[in-house]
Symmetry: D2
Subunit: 223 residues, 4 copies
């Protein structure tokens, strides 16, 4: 398990989050991790995963895997293959790649078996509480209407953070991350004060002109 | 809420479960309900729902609804429309029509708002426990490998019934139904002895040569 | 086959296009059909189909059907059931209910077999030309960006109408309908002048304060 | 464009088609290509693509890509990224990863733009003819019921090969590949005699004890 608080950077399929740019960004994040002794995790594209994993010491996770075992599944990626490539875990059910409940269950159980870290996303406190029963390693709550926007969940919906943590803790003791619109250290600080044990960020870092500066600011909020 | 134990007959899209045959079968089930004073519910095709609802006194529910409000959604059916037609509830997440967790959440909340009964299906005890947090009216657990088969869940997987009830009750006090392969009163009796508050049947009744006899036998197991 | 030009009104899942409102609107359209001797077709919700079909003489089609035969398909509607209820056809692949190519193929072939009219939607001239090879009864082209908007395809993209008709006719001689943003007789007239053999409308009629007036205006453009 | 006849080996998600095994198999195929001067193409998992592309001279294609541009698409892979990694093309609409017609259109157009080779799969001659209108580089027809089986399409359904080629050629002059159950040179030879310009194989090679021997036999049938 990763030391909390944790900062997960989701590279998505941004032009600045794939290929050479992804590798460069991962190296910057690795450097910040080493300088500041904070948990930083990158969620990368499968085409980039092998390269990035070889070059950095921070955890590298997939943004998605399909709920299948090895077999005749053309065009699918599974948890076993993530393991074979020594990756560290996966995002499950991100709002841009939502899943059936039975597939979420499959992916969490499979991750446990193979000792990968599962970070399951929820769109609200009810879904977060339900998913807690499946015992992922982390639950990340992101209000869909704030994702990719300019106002952070910490500012716009602090009560959503609190009720999500309460819902999750009423079921299982699982660390809760929050995301959506988080762009600076102040947003992070508020989230952590409200009980979050980390944040999930994407555009704020991946599309930034100076990602190193932005991440250092986010890390300020974690300390 | 329906009086328990409850017998839900899912008409699926069997040739003998739609059109004139559906109406005839619904009438038989209505008669048995009246004769034997037991809760019987029919889950019907949307094309049949209006007709059947007008002709029977037992609850009529949809086999599925989409997680949308009224609007520009060509080819979708929503909970509001089920309400408008005075239907009684809906099956959600049947193994032949599985859903994303966020859509299951939407459908349960919407059903509550409109005072419709929600029966949410789960493929195992973990998913059942998770879904309990969303507070549907009923949770129906069916091991997928037994659905449509000749061996009932009561015989083949009694422990699955017990662990599902435990999982659900550890989260919320919600009645658990079970299904898959249930064909006679003995199967029903065992399920109820194990703690189930009803059963979900389909082919055993809908494809039976003499459905009235089969249902009366199932009802024997409920008493 | 329907006499061309044809006016198809897609009721979608608008609050004003379901339940009692749907029935009322279908009756208005039926009356206009009789008064003005023009082909008018309604694409309705499955929950409304039985009622509406009994009350009107104009063709009643489904907005969608699933690519399955009768069987264990909980929550699905198929072409066979549409036939059993004496419905006249179906919309296939509407932009709000897009389908896999193999399912479109299935639905068109099944419709032919059962003598139902298939109206297949395409988002551009290439897709329209491809679908022509599957020999539906009608192809309806709607540029997705104009659907539900205020500018009609006739005004905004007349060249899209022309190239769609050319693409379709280069493959098979199938009548082409157009839709998206069509709100008045002038829009219809232009579409027909460009070679369309009918129009597909929705919000312009279904959400109109006075649908009768709007439809009469649309019909003016067809004459 | 690849010289025909072409042999495409789809590694699927077989345990023997990913990771180290995938790399080893790709090297064997590369060697055979060089020894026998025949077009051999490998369709690999995205996690393997970067490594394999660096190690072999034969074309490396993806088994699937999503119909999106760069952007906020967590867990998706697009054609642009395949290009960035210098991959050679992609399988589209494989029977284990079927797609909406509008997404097939998007992927073919995008592949053309970026100068990648598109190999589009069809389940029958009608769908093949329809897809020809979208002008992919290759159309691969595989009867779904024969995929992964022991009887080849050449033996079981020779007429399906002929009618597919006729359907495609009636629309556009696009080379047709066939697949499903192809396991030896005799199967390949028959397919080519019937007019196919190559074959798509998977389990026959990827799950073989001695893939080199099997592929050499397949290549015998191509000469």
């Amino acid at each position: 398990m990763w030391k909390t608080p944790v900062l997960i950077v989701n590279f998505k399929l941004y032009a600045s989050g794939v290929g050479e740019s992804a590798l460069k960004l991962a190296r910057i994040l690795d450097k910040i991790h080493q300088e500041r002794e904070i948990s930083v995790v990158v969620a990368v594209n499968p085409l980039d995963a092998y390269r990035i994993k070889k070059e950095v010491s921070i955890p590298v996770i997939l943004q998605h895997a399909d709920a299948v075992d090895f077999g005749a599944h053309t065009g699918r990626i599974n948890v076993d293959l993530a393991k074979e490539y020594n990756l560290d875990g996966l995002l499950i059910n991100h709002s841009e790649r939502t899943l059936k409940i039975e597939d979420i269950d499959f992916l969490i159980q499979k991750s446990k078996e193979l000792d990968l870290i599962s970070v399951v996303c929820a769109n609200n406190f009810r879904v977060a509480g339900a998913l807690a029963f499946l015992e992922p390693n982390f639950i990340a709550m992101e209000p869909p209407e704030l994702i990719g926007g300019d106002i952070s969940v910490s500012t716009a919906r602090p009560e959503a953070i609190v009720e999500t943590i309460e819902a999750v803790k009423s079921v299982r003791s699982i660390p809760v991350l929050v995301g959506a619109g988080i762009k600076n250290g102040e947003d992070v600080k508020k989230a952590i004060e409200l009980g979050a044990e980390g944040v999930l960020v994407a555009s704020g870092v991946v599309k930034a002109k100076d990602p190193e500066r932005v991440v250092n600011d986010l890390v300020d909020g974690m300390m």
